[in-house]
Assembly symmetry: D2
Homo-oligomer: 342 residues x 4
């Protein structure tokens, strides 16, 4: 079976990454590349790594039409845009994976507090973190693929929270991202002379991914959680390292914790539980989320470290993982590439 | 058809890259990982990006046995080592792709001037640059896969030399490599505090890849050529950018030159001739060699720029491309991954 | 007044940085460069940035003699070495600033738990953080200059702890360092192909700087504190960003907190309290420690960020600041250079 | 004697570097910071490394007034701007060092071919490369400080050309710059996700610094020279490495060449002739130009490598060196800082 796929938002980094991965997916035929920028150019002119591989021309989107022509539409537009046209795509009959924040929140008011007024608040999506919501993703018409930081953060502590092992008031997530997370638009913060030998914390208590983390952790806990999330920008292009500091409610052995994580993620194709702390170059270029931890038994503090490629497991790879589930393909299809190290 | 493959030199960077690529190759079954270091460890313990993917244990090599068990043996040992055991591998019946310099030189004395005394000087290999020697590679038992710099340098000027368009006495190749080219052994030159914000020229007139370039260019020219090769180390992990400055013997148009290059590389699966200058992020993560040029019509100087991933087209990808030819597979099999950009 | 200065440990990064700073210090005359490595070479052969500036030859140390010849001896040897010879230096009459950990701990058993058996446990030093111990430093014969991480971490929270504003059981210090902190000896962890596009946590609950932080914070609090310290290695050469997550005991305004910090650091020549979060390129190349914070009023979490140049305020600059105090010079003498940005 | 200094173009990278260096210059009093951007902000708000050090407010320039108030005006505006107001500054009585290209060309038509129509073509400046034009700089009212690439390129080969030792038709200058050379305005080319792990050649045959190099080399040779200049952008923030490939007209020994260079640069405060190839981290943070070479005796090719900090010797440091000459100060005053390595 082959599905036809279109990408809306062909110019950005999630876009290029979707093309890069889909071009090698044996069950997918790319049928459309849409954007309001770069109209008329070939995808490979905008993304020269794809020269000779994805030479589709970028077309101005006609959403009604796209929804009819494609079996699956990946939406990789900035936040606040997808909500304007996703209903049209769905109406056309397409399934949709939205990589933006627009449909990630169960409570639309949370979305509106952090982003903008929602224009299609009644359209509901499944939060596309397969490790937590696989069954529902399989039957979804619309999947809201998670943010990059939430993917790493949620997977880091899900087993602990599910099992109520930790103090829920002191979950500190100190995350570090590469610059590709900032997107394709140049700005001072990603200007190489400023960022090339620098590290900065930003949105230290106010990042828009925080409520997304809180939503999912709260569901796992069965009570409202406010995690403490602080992101940093470091001078690498790809990769997120998420360091979560938590406090065990009672002394627990490393062995028991390792068993817990392994059990929780048993059979997961893209979560690897390690006996060492992961580094970003264990995963960059792949769809893996590697997780490891270190226990300070004297204080019952547990440091959980997760590493992902922010553009793959943190965005386009996860979106394709969701698509695989939605169409009944092998969940790992098209996502088998190992990480590049060195 | 499935071939059985073994890698000798499992601990180094060419080794990990061979595993990374071979694990996704549909006609290859990995049957052995050999090294004198890390014996008893799993490949994935040494190379954590391969965890769950290549969990073979590294074994001390018994060459007679390996030559019998594997259809193809990739040799990724330091220079001066392969020559000690490649004859045994061949005797066992295996085909061999050697990624070291040991069999690259037609004149063994050139090898001995730049490296060490040769211990199996009578064993002859085909120089494994498919774009120049495809027919012979197909029937070879032993292929000497080219060096990273020579791959980029030779492909940059082959069409010009073949057609005798340039002054052969003033071919200046100013190349820049990422640090992975230095291999897995730490040293002062690749120590991050020294190299992380630095650029250096090294072996500016004496690099061991120079005679390899000269050998191939001389064959193309039908006369002895001494190109002027100077490498630099820059703070990127992967990638080579090779900038070649040549002087046209008579005025030639950009259009004519573009036509020449396109014709010369017509049908080549891994050479892309661009109308712009390539950058390393057009190719890193892929087996492509991208080539572009800029003409200074006032002085008839042509600046030809080529970009490759030094570990793929410059090493392990090219080795697999050679294997594909040697076994009659589609030449691009297992090497389809596009480059990562960003 | 001119003092004569010698450096023991001339080959390492603290050593070169001492020379780089001392050569411009108007009251200092460099009289000796000592090491057991590189004996006979000029300082500028080992550190080519100093060519023409510090051409002293490196001499094998004779400690009794050094202690007589120099007014001040900077000891920049690896941990566990200084303790063997500092008594001899002092006996000779020199004042000593030790940049290693050997004399940083008031309780020698703490040192011995994290390092090695102490060989001169009765020799006592002043902990050389001028912002906390200025008065005692002025009269010290031996100053133990703080570690790089402790400098940033302690200055980040000293005002809060002194004033008892925070929950002392949940002080999480998530720090990030450039690679120069690892020293001049190459190793796999600082090998550019591995670290050049990577980030890793290390010694996540066991770093040797943790007890040093605890010692100083405990003194400020008047009770025993165990902070939660986790360091990371990022691909920059210089700089530490230390992100400390703390919880206020009661709601406090940003304005009040800013007032507190400004008051606490009033008149300090090298602490700048900012109204924004500092970045490492605000300080790299200078002796400043920049501090800023962000308050999450909903949870009373305060994120305090401090930035230093690990080799200057985190090592050699601070050592010279200590020397200035010990000899009655202007505390900032020789340390006036602003940071380089970009 | 103290001179009053003003900077026009306070927001850019040459601007911040002028402030950074001037604030430590003992004979200079900063009296004005001018720009059309950031008016009303403090210099230290735009350049946070200068917080507490340069807190002057940025003022919209009134050139007639500036020319009267300041003894020396540094002009650090984009190309094509200085020519509009430098005559007014001079009329006011100030001496001027212009860091832009506007007055670098003796033949205004060359300027107009590469830049824009000149608006004050009769105003003449001295080309501010002290090593070649010291005597004239001392008496100049207006000095045109050289471009970053030309500084490194010209100093690399001046001795060879002056002594007519090389083939003037085959001077290949293959240069590599850090990203700060692109200035403070963000753009795609300096966007970290694109440039952070990349290298590109650009303006490979058409860069605007080429005619500046040709002008100076031609004067040295006494005949018209067209050098072959190709720049590259590499992922470091500061530094230029300029690799020049030349061909000796007759065999010459390394010793003789070294003698020639040493003699030519004898007494120069900021040129260091090395017996090894320089690297950018020998000079970054300093005003030095380090030069070394390697001879390929078989082909009489000489590879000359020069390293500078593009923002110091390539811009603001050199501008201050010129000022020192213009006012009779010690030429090195305020520029004594050694390079940072690591």
């Amino acid at each position: 079976m082959t599905v036809t796929a279109a990408v809306v938002g062909a110019s950005g980094y999630a876009g290029v990454e979707l093309f890069r991965l889909l071009v090698g997916h044996p069950e997918v035929k790319l049928v459309g590349a849409y954007d309001i920028r770069n109209v008329g150019k070939r995808v490979s002119e905008v993304h020269p790594n794809l020269r000779g591989l994805v030479d589709l021309r970028i077309v101005k989107p006609d959403y009604a039409k796209i929804g009819k022509q494609a079996d699956i539409v990946f939406v990789a537009t900035p936040h606040g845009i997808a909500m304007k046209f996703v209903p049209k795509l769905l109406k056309g009959g397409a399934k949709v994976v939205d990589l933006s924040a627009d449909y990630r929140f169960e409570n639309v008011r949370v979305f509106e507090r952090y982003y903008v007024k929602h224009e299609s608040p009644r359209v509901k999506a499944v939060y596309g973190l397969p490790e937590l919501h696989r069954a529902r993703i399989k039957h979804a018409k619309l999947v809201a693929s998670p943010g990059c930081y939430p993917t790493a953060a949620i997977l880091s502590v899900a087993p602990l929270i599910k099992r109520r092992l930790i103090d829920l008031d002191h979950i500190i997530i100190d995350a570090k991202t590469g610059t590709s997370g900032a997107g394709a638009a140049p700005g001072e913060i990603t200007h190489h002379p400023i960022t090339g030998a620098n590290i900065r914390a930003y949105a230290a208590t106010t990042h828009r991914h925080a409520p997304e983390i809180d939503q999912e952790l709260s569901k796992l806990a069965g009570r409202k959680i406010k995690a403490h999330f602080t992101p940093h920008l470091i001078p690498i292009v790809r990769g997120i390292l998420s360091t979560t500091h938590v406090f065990l409610r009672k002394p627990t052995s490393v062995k028991a914790l390792l068993g817990l994580y392994r059990k929780f993620y048993e059979g997961e194709p893209f979560v690897r539980v390690l006996e060492e702390l992961p580094e970003v170059n264990f995963v960059v270029g792949s769809n893996y989320c590697d997780i490891g931890f270190e226990l300070d038994a004297r204080s019952d503090r547990l440091v959980v470290v997760a590493a992902i490629d922010n553009l793959i497991k943190g965005a386009s790879g996860q979106a394709i993982q969701n698509m695989n589930l939605m169409f009944g393909f092998d969940e790992a299809r098209g996502l088998e590439a190992p990480a590049l190290r060195p």
